[in-house]
Symmetry: C2
Subunit: 344 residues, 2 copies
Amino acid sequence: MSEQTKRTELNDLGEFALIDHLTRDFPLENKSSVKGIGDDAAVIDNGNFQTVVSTDLLVEGIHFDLTYMPLKHLGYKAVVVNLSDIYAMNAQPKQVTVSLALSNRFSVESLEEFYAGIRQACDFYKVDLVGGDTTSSLTGLLISVTAVGQGEADKLVYRSGAKVGDILCMTGNLGGAYLGLQILEREKQIYLEHPEMQPKLEGHDYIISRQLKPEARQDTIEQFAKAELVPTSMIDISDGLASEVLHLCKASGVGAFVEEGHVMIEQEVFQTALDFRLDPITCALSGGEDYELLFTVDAKDLEKVRFMNDIAIIGEITTVEDGATLHTKGGNIHPLTAQGWKHF
Amino acid sequence: MSEQTKRTELNDLGEFALIDHLTRDFPLENKSSVKGIGDDAAVIDNGNFQTVVSTDLLVEGIHFDLTYMPLKHLGYKAVVVNLSDIYAMNAQPKQVTVSLALSNRFSVESLEEFYAGIRQACDFYKVDLVGGDTTSSLTGLLISVTAVGQGEADKLVYRSGAKVGDILCMTGNLGGAYLGLQILEREKQIYLEHPEMQPKLEGHDYIISRQLKPEARQDTIEQFAKAELVPTSMIDISDGLASEVLHLCKASGVGAFVEEGHVMIEQEVFQTALDFRLDPITCALSGGEDYELLFTVDAKDLEKVRFMNDIAIIGEITTVEDGATLHTKGGNIHPLTAQGWKHF
């Protein structure tokens, strides 16, 4: 994080000046962004496209820990996780709104860091910040992001389109973000007990970046467009592979099997899992926040996906009676179960 | 509030079941709602209209107090305040997303109450709930609502269109929501000190309903359409009249005067202000949350607004050099100042 030589209290600015101040550096890039910040609402011209809207809430102490998450990374990630939802529809994100509730322990400079991360994500993914709301909280930081995208009606991809015989595919690799979090949590605990010790993060660059600075699979959507391929169903992998396979199956009324040996896991992820005495496939199935895409294609499109960059064929869609299963390397068949979400 | 005979813990359901449970009763009404809850994002077909998106964050202890705000009313209000922003663009709201961060002190039944209020607002204003996110918070309740609307490009109204000589108008009356809050706060303090005493709310029905169950001015937008009137500028009055006049003036690069005697204030508001030893016009100028509309029309449209239902002509747009002023009943001229927002 940058040196904090100057500290301006939020009170010194007031709401409107604060928003002006934080958002003055966001030009509108997309022709469809008719009106951004500065009115009651943002106006988006859609012509003959369809609008896609996605929203996420991130809560300090639940979704992120500011002791190891730099605010700039947090801003970046808050945008990216929403864009991932838009890409998972086979649509292009165009606009985002970002709302914050924050306590007075944050300075203007720290918020500038946060918005610098948002700006970086907006630049990289070519989306416009078009609105938001900023208010105070009694404790901690809370971030609400809404993304709006557009796509062509006949090319949008839902969770519900998978059918028996479709090929099940994933992008990238899984388990990294979860293990990155384990490393950061371990070093935090060591730091709390022995503040004089330096954190040991070497050798974990990849998995830590998966946790702190995830990317959304814009490139995959572009590959689909180039290949004139429309998946039959798609979902982003935010809660672990098992949970997302079950979502696809439920929405499509089908079953599926996943070949353990085909699920992509990076060498660093594999090794770190073993260091933590965890099963790497469990990290891939149940660890969240990788923001890869899980999708199905019609069997006739096999040749199109087979050699696509960074895409693996991991299974097949079966009948609903077969359920959702994992075919292990050892030849066993296990039912897939979602670890689910137990925040409360 | 309803009797709480049954208490289901949030943990008993889990996230997905909870969302399914809470949102199962929301049919999609609008043809443009192609896809609602149940996928990564909502899909909205806009044809040749423009999309309008607005978002708001409401924080317990800052924006609302659950000791006197029933959850059903809170759900209703959370939607309405966003719709008000859409109407203020001269657009029609069509969809909303609602995200919640909440602690485990809330039961499923209490959330049902909250969603019943959302449902009621959706029904009344004919909007569809199409998405959201639910997560836990370490303390309190936080609500993020995004509204999406549509309007015709040449009929959308911005803050920036007011010009010298335009007529300044407001809908309804002001100060009620603020005074309703004063009553509720007073009775809360009395209750905390003397729990055996009954709250005295009689005679304050109107102002309490202005605070607990505000409405957005859908009817005004309909009157505009019928009269084929497009205001030159518009804003909703959420932070008090003075603040909104200053916003319009700043965005339009103009000045304005407001005639004190023309600002609409209800008799009950007037009387309650005096009971609290407050100046009624100060309550109208600086009290928030009335969700009326402030707008300007070209002088040639005077005949169209003059006899419109529940609309008052309160002033005129002047040059920027004249500033924004209040012409008092006593014949004095005071500069308008915004009390602003000092949550931090």
